[in-house]
């Protein structure tokens, strides 16, 4: 969303390993500038451009691993970068830096909510915000799905997942463990088809 500029940089990583406090503060800063979203774009700006802890290629590698593994993408990124910089203590510093400011802000917000929720004005305003959040959630999904909606097989799995989880309210675990491997198998088979076609003279 409102991320920083994303010009390509060829600057390589710096050699000296940063201290734990520096890693922690860097991730605190990253969280605080990402009010309203764009955390991934900001993490590139700070890690690659400002700190030069990673090259552009390393950042893409780390980002793609963060997206492949389960869990919050930005938390995964913090763990991988922290580990690269300073091992276990680096990873812990990074994840704490990323989550502690967010937790403090959430604690303040939820306390305000609990003390103000009986106020009719607050209640009305929140009703508007929750509707906007419904729109935001749908827009995020559609944005991520652009290329997948065009492939018939992907679209099929999207629709089946929405029916099972969104409409019939099946549990996540059986749906993910059945549809996930089936869909991956489909990708693998269609990939095999492609290579065998290419080999045919």
């Amino acid at each position: 969303m409102n991320g920083p500029e994303t010009e390509k940089t060829t600057i390589g990583p710096v050699l000296a390993a940063p201290g734990l406090a520096e890693i922690f503060i860097c991730f605190v800063k990253m969280t605080l500038v990402s009010f309203g979203g764009g955390l991934t774009a900001w993490s590139r700006q700070i890690l690659v451009v400002e700190k030069r802890w990673l090259s552009d290629d390393e950042f893409l590698e780390v980002l793609s691993l963060s997206q492949t593994l389960p869990g919050s993408i930005n938390a995964n990124l913090a763990v991988i970068v922290g580990r690269k910089l300073k091992g276990m203590t680096g990873a812990v510093s990074a994840i704490l830096g990323l989550t502690l400011p967010a937790m403090i802000i959430l604690a303040v917000l939820v306390s305000l909510y609990i003390s103000c929720r009986s106020n009719p004005a607050v209640d009305k305003a929140l009703k508007g915000v929750t509707c906007a959040c419904a729109g935001l959630s749908a827009a995020t999904a559609c944005h991520l799905g652009r290329k997948h909606f065009k492939k018939p097989m992907s679209l099929f799995f999207v629709i089946v997942a929405v029916l099972l989880v969104g409409i019939f309210r099946f549990s996540l675990i059986p749906v993910l463990l059945s549809l996930g491997p089936l869909s991956a198998l489909g990708v693998w088979l269609s990939g095999m088809g492609k290579t065998s076609l290419e080999k045919t003279p």
């Binding site: 969303m1 993408i73 938390a75 909510y113 935001l136 989880v165």
Partner: protein, 175 residues
Amino acid sequence: MKDNALLQIAMICLSLSLLAFGGGRSLIPELHKEAVTELKWMNDERFVDLFAISQTAPGPSILFVSLIGYQAAGWAGFLIAAFAMLLPEFILVYAISATWTGIREKPISHIIAEGVAPVTLGLLLSGALVVAKGSIHGTGGAVVAITAFFIFSLTKINPLLVMGIAAIAGLMGWV
């Protein structure tokens, strides 16, 4: 009862941590099912209120589970939920990133990413459906949600600004 809720929120987060493919938002349908339908910690309205609050804060969106933990078991639940959600993920990611390099070139990562992506998308759309059901109670709400959808899809406006305008629409009694 409260200790029981603390244990339940910890178990939910521990079990879902490694299933959050494509980021934390894909867990919303399951979190709703557990917190509202099964365990009755809150109603639909409270669930979407807490979700909206978590969306206005910076940081990983998965920290929404802290607010569910708070509702279920107070401040202990707030902390335990975040810890239980992040711990398994931390261990897995740490171990894999230490041993597995060059993932972008490996076919297996392509198969996992491309294979799981449609299911993740289905979960994200289901999450949007859950939030829409809990928040939209009439034409005004639907108009706000649809307008917000198009603004987020077509522009790069900061979501907080749109939420602020939606809050004003709510204050005016249009929602």
